[in-house]
Amino acid sequence: MRRLEYEAYAALAEREGEGIVAEAVAKYGVQHAACIHRIGDLALGEMAVWVGVSSRHRAEAFAACRYIIDEVKHRVPIWKKEHYVDGDSGWVNCERCAQPGAHESHADQIVTPLAEGAHGHDHAHAHAAMTPQHALPDFSRQIALPEVGAAGQQRLRAGSVLVIGAGGLGVPALQYLAAAGVGRIGIVEGDVVEASNLHRQPLYGVADIGKSKAAVAAARLRELNPEATFAVHAERAGAGNLVDWLARYDVVVDCSDNFATKFTVNDAAVILGKPAVFASVYQYEGQLQVYLPREDWPCLRCLWPEAPRDGLVGNCAQAGVLGPVPAVLGAMQAMQALKILLGLPVEGAPALHVFDLLGMHWRTLHAARNPACDHSPRELQTDAIDPAALELAYPTLAAAFASGLTLVDIREPWERARDVPAGPIEWHLPLSAFLQGSTALPREGRYLIVCAHGVRSLALAGHLRALGYPAVYSLAGGLAAVSA
């Protein structure tokens, strides 16, 4: 291990800490007691906790010190993160710290019975002055709503939501669900925080870059509502895990960024009969759809009978987005989930809501159940081919050609006109031709599909493999990644 990091829910920690100190004074009849717990980054060997007691007799002083350190470890909401030498890290909660022998080796705690007249008294006062009036969330401003009330607040507290993805949509969805007092929240997110996430995921900060989004989000959300339970699933949602997880929740909120996950979430919700709130964004636009497990309600597959393959819809350039676009949609997802938990009508009729935040249009497109969609429980489908096995990297197109591959450029004619690659490309077949069902490309042959950045080519390679082409690969990174 390299270093330690402590994070606290400061208001509650101070209140609980003061209670422990007062209990120790009363229980052991000592003069004064005080305790300081450091937070933030600590090197190995640095002091993390200081306890001081002043007393007429040594035995009571030691007993009071021991009581304070034990209770602090059990009861005070301070989380310890261990950073290991290999770059890995993990959060250790306060209960585990309290297990015998679990903490001594990491950072030092000094427990000092002080002689009469030492500084313990001053520290106790300093803590008292820092305690704010309201250390726990106060839901009075939402309880005041006739649709919520005390009974509604109790429903939220008893309710549970599984949120898939803690990115642009997931961050506001999670924040508003936690802040509203939802009692149990699951966070499914396999990614770590990247610098390019922060403009639309302001729950995270620069100090979080490289850390697990799910773990950081859970720590921040605990500050919003320390009474709630947060389950961290730091992995990608898939057919293998989603049904098990979702079975334990009332509602699922899909904040994922790919079709494969969205349709897997849809199927899990249909199988388990759970409400699901879907949203997606594209540049300045967003789409929102709620699935309710009712006879007359359409699912995601009713609208899109052919689950689109990721990468085939849209362009190859990295899709840009302004932060407030997913924020608006994510907050709307939280709103829909809260309505479901509160038992309020979600909407008059099932619909796909389409938002254009550049032009400020909101279209409510009414959707009905698709009679061709069987809507019945089915096995979740998984992609048979690992996308990584479809990608090949080459320094130049000539090197790819030399290895025996036939090069197929799938950029549209207008893209080709702008940027003609110098290389042995044999086929120019735009992606749109494949999507229209072109069968010009013979099945035999070993192909390397080439596009601008490798997004569309990867999607098409997967599509062609599924159609029975035995040897189709995608140029990793596209033409942008090879030299002329």
Partner: protein
Amino acid sequence: MKKITLQYFAVLREQAGCSEERLETAAATPAELYEEVRARHGFTLPLSMLRVAVNEEFRDWSSPLESSDRVVFIPPVAGG
């Protein structure tokens, strides 16, 4: 000829270069209308990957078009 208001979303908006246009057309169905504007704007997505809504209701591609209909072509989006 019918007077139609057309609205585009996502990649269709990018390829059309506008989010809305009004046009006169002889197209009898949304499918015919899409083929007409696809040729003009160079849309790359086939009809099978899209949905169409007419006057705020999802419709079949072969349903009849009326003058003053408001038509929306929608591709699925997945960003999060």
